[in-house]
Symmetry: C2
Subunit: 185 residues, 2 copies
DNA sequence: TGTTTCATGTAACATTCGTTTCATGAGCGA
DNA sequence: TCGCTCATGAAACGAATGTTACATGAAACA
């Protein structure tokens, strides 16, 4: 759309990546990015419209960035998909996007009417992508669920403690646990 | 303390278990539990004092309830600790407490000054308890981190989808993965 | 040049927020 | 019965919320 609009999305996104969405209000945001609440409403219709536009951009950036590093998941073993997932996730440039997504997902648990729409189209757990890298199996779905949970759980731990070493070791341990096993054991 | 105070804590807790803490305001809460914002401030000093009192009660109830079912973790294999953890967590009577704790923990990521204090004394990841059930090992800490992440990740998935069957299967799969392995492999 | 569209500033709107002030009983010990 | 503490109600406080009305200036187009 408008050029000004995209600039406002970018700046608002930067602000939300830092401050989150739970306590977001228009005037402090507008002040921080050098505009006014009046303008934000003018360009996005409402606060809700602004957040929607920003979260769309979040989703687009994540997909664009991650698609670049992953390639076709059906051609890779699950272990390398997990490693690629994790390395990308905790990368300095990416982790703040995951943090924002995480926040919205958890807020949607108690208040799906307000925060659910922001997640539209986001399989915020990465179930499908992981499932695609798994060979057919009786327990494929449970296995994909477990892998996604490991990523999500370790990400939460990383976001809370910023202990990249320990969480990364935990993921490596998980990969080793998977290595010596057939799925249907 | 006061009897009235404990009654207000209990009712406020029920309300917060259902509605969460992110968008909590005094007047709707007070209206729902049959009192007034005036009274809540009178008994707890401030909104912050109320939330602190409620979260203290959350922590106390969780510890009391969970201690009853777990016993001494050093005397049990990690697998049974994980099973006990999970069964307790997704139990109808308990899961809402975990949900509230989860919300506060995630809000504290972006706003530790506001939400961090509510978590005081809460090892909201269950790292220590799990670590206590593990035998000494070079990778004990990474292993405990992984186990805690599996619980946290599966809990998030369960809270978002309410698919108890699939998440429970994923945990069973994880337990089987651990079973055939020495820790230092 | 005149007109129209777009972007923006100023200021206000009604509402809600956490909190406070003031008043009023209810119960209870002296 | 007199005071005193505790609990409560009614109402207001200033601040902040999302949103809107109105005016203005610049740019684009006729």
């Amino acid at each position: 759309m408008s050029e000004r609009r995209e600039e406002l999305i970018e700046k608002s996104l930067d602000y939300m990546l830092e401050h989150g969405v739970a306590g977001l209000t228009l005037r402090p945001l507008a002040g921080a990015i050098g505009t006014s609440a009046r303008l934000l409403v003018y360009h996005f219709g409402s606060k809700d419209g602004l957040i929607t536009a920003v979260m769309d951009e979040v989703r687009a950036r994540i997909q664009r960035s991650f698609a670049g590093v992953l390639g076709d998941p059906t051609k890779k073993p699950v272990k390398s998909v997990m490693q690629a997932f994790w390395a990308w996730t905790i990368h300095r440039a990416n982790v703040k996007y995951m943090r924002l997504l995480f926040e919205v997902q958890v807020l949607a648990i108690h208040n799906p009417a307000m925060y659910g729409p922001y997640l539209e189209g986001t399989s915020s757990s990465w179930l499908e992508l992981i499932e695609a890298s798994l060979p057919p199996s009786r327990e494929k779905r449970a296995f994909a669920t477990l892998c996604a949970a490991v990523i999500d759980g370790l990400l939460l731990e990383y976001l809370s403690t910023r202990d990249g070493r320990r969480t990364t070791r935990a993921l490596e341990l998980f990969n080793r646990l998977m290595a010596g096993r057939t799925l249907d054991a």
